[in-house]
């Protein structure tokens, strides 16, 4: 198919994104079980960072390759000599990538609208919830039933938990998760992130205070009990997750690992600097351009 300069760039970028994303996604999917085990041994906040970074890595790596290799090499080295022939394989991959982007975007919009509807629904029906909702203007929703069920100390601990989610911008991270393409194995990573972010918020809400830990544990059970219906009426919540949170709150010290000085930021900085130096070599861009030419044709 004959395609113009701009269409070729768009198709090439999408194809490269798809290739890198699939490759990096396969690596991440293979590392998921080990990552979840490692996260279980870390402090919750560090574990959430690890799990989220791993989840976002394929999309970030693909964007990086497109942004620093693909687009610059094409713009500098591809002559603007009008239309050129494009291979069907490249076109097919570009179409697949476009569908993947559209599905992710749709998923994010759907999650956003559902969340808004869910919040309104809870407010209208007076459902027993205590939650942080919204991304740009987050707000705390505490139903009357929850306010009545909790003592002031329990309510303070529960609100502290939600403020920890607010400080960590967890709702925005949920949007990021919804908006980036999913590959097999990513669901397990997201569930692990979700569970660990609850642990992190619990830890930050109680701040090592035993009394506050007990208050938060009691608040969790009381809120979980509200509006109880017979098991056959609806699905059951994941009791193991709740029991695990209570256990952590009752025995906080058993879960605290000694903090070790992390070399990750320094290593990441050094890697990024080397990568940038490598990329901005004329020879590297020429090689990249030759490779991308093969992809296009």
């Amino acid at each position: 198919m004959i395609a113009s300069y701009a269409v070729r760039l768009a198709c090439l970028s999408l194809t490269v994104f798809l290739l890198v994303h699939t490759l990096a996604g396969a690596l991440v999917a293979a590392a998921v079980p080990a990552a979840i085990r490692a996260a279980g041994r870390m402090r919750p906040r560090g574990a959430t960072r690890l799990l989220l970074s791993l989840r976002m890595f394929p999309a970030a790596a693909a964007s990086l390759v497109v942004g620093v290799f693909c687009v610059p090499s094409y713009l500098w080295l591809e002559p603007e000599s009008g239309a050129e022939e494009m291979g069907w394989l490249c076109l097919g991959a570009a179409a697949l990538a476009a569908v993947m982007f559209a599905a992710s975007l749709l998923n994010a919009v759907r999650a956003f609208l559902r969340s808004r509807k869910y919040t309104r629904h809870c407010e209208r029906t007076g459902a027993p919830v205590l939650m942080l909702t919204g991304i740009l203007r987050p707000r705390l929703v505490v139903s009357r039933a929850v306010r009545d069920a909790l003592s002031p100390e329990q309510l303070a601990a529960a609100i502290g938990h939600e403020y920890a989610h607010l400080r960590a911008s967890d709702n925005f991270k949920r949007l990021l998760l919804a908006a980036t393409p999913r590959l097999p194995g990513f669901r397990a990573l997201e569930r692990a992130w979700s569970r660990t972010s609850e642990w992190a918020a619990d830890d930050e809400a109680v701040a090592g205070d035993t009394e506050r830990s007990l208050c938060l544990a009691s608040a969790l059970v009381r809120v979980a009990r509200l509006g109880t219906v017979p098991a056959e009426v609806g699905f059951l919540g994941d009791g193991a997750d709740l029991a695990c949170r209570i256990e952590r709150l009752l025995h906080p010290r058993a879960h605290v690992q000694p903090r070790r000085k992390s070399l990750v930021p320094a290593a990441a900085l050094a890697l990024t600097a080397s990568f940038v130096v490598f990329v901005w070599q004329a020879r590297t861009l020429e090689s990249a351009h030759r490779l991308f030419e093969h992809l296009v044709h």
Partner: protein
């Protein structure tokens, strides 16, 4: 969800307490057939909203939950219905203190509460 007649009968029983079908019929402002009331009370019993006992060849019906308890359950049901039609809370862009409120095994919650009390006493 309850229909208008079911709500009317629940209101009557909340106001009056334990009653027979005849008592309920006599309490209603608009005339309703005895059999209609009997069938509706039986349906409410099967829905788990009423308790029933037999005495002197008549059934006595009493609300299983207070009005406020029932309203709370109804709100929980509405949310459960909303969630079953879409995704669980973790798929939404909200952070809930407890996921799936009201959908936990009662025995588990009792056990967790017992552990918290035990821990509090040990301090």
């Amino acid at each position: 969800m309850l229909g208008p007649l079911e709500i009317l009968l629940m209101e009557t029983l909340w106001r009056r307490g334990e009653s027979t079908v005849r008592d309920v019929v006599d309490q209603l402002e608009r005339p309703l057939a005895y059999t209609t009331v009997m069938t509706t009370l039986d349906r409410l019993y099967k829905k788990g909203l009423l308790d029933r006992r037999k005495a002197q060849r008549a059934f006595y019906y009493a609300p299983r939950y207070s009005r406020s308890e029932w309203e709370l359950r109804r709100a929980g049901d509405l949310v459960a219905g909303f969630l079953s039609s879409c995704e669980p809370e973790r798929e939404l862009l909200v952070s809930c203190l407890v996921e799936a409120v009201g959908r936990y095994d009662e025995a588990l919650l009792d056990e967790l509460e017992r552990r918290i009390r035990l821990r509090r006493r040990k301090r």
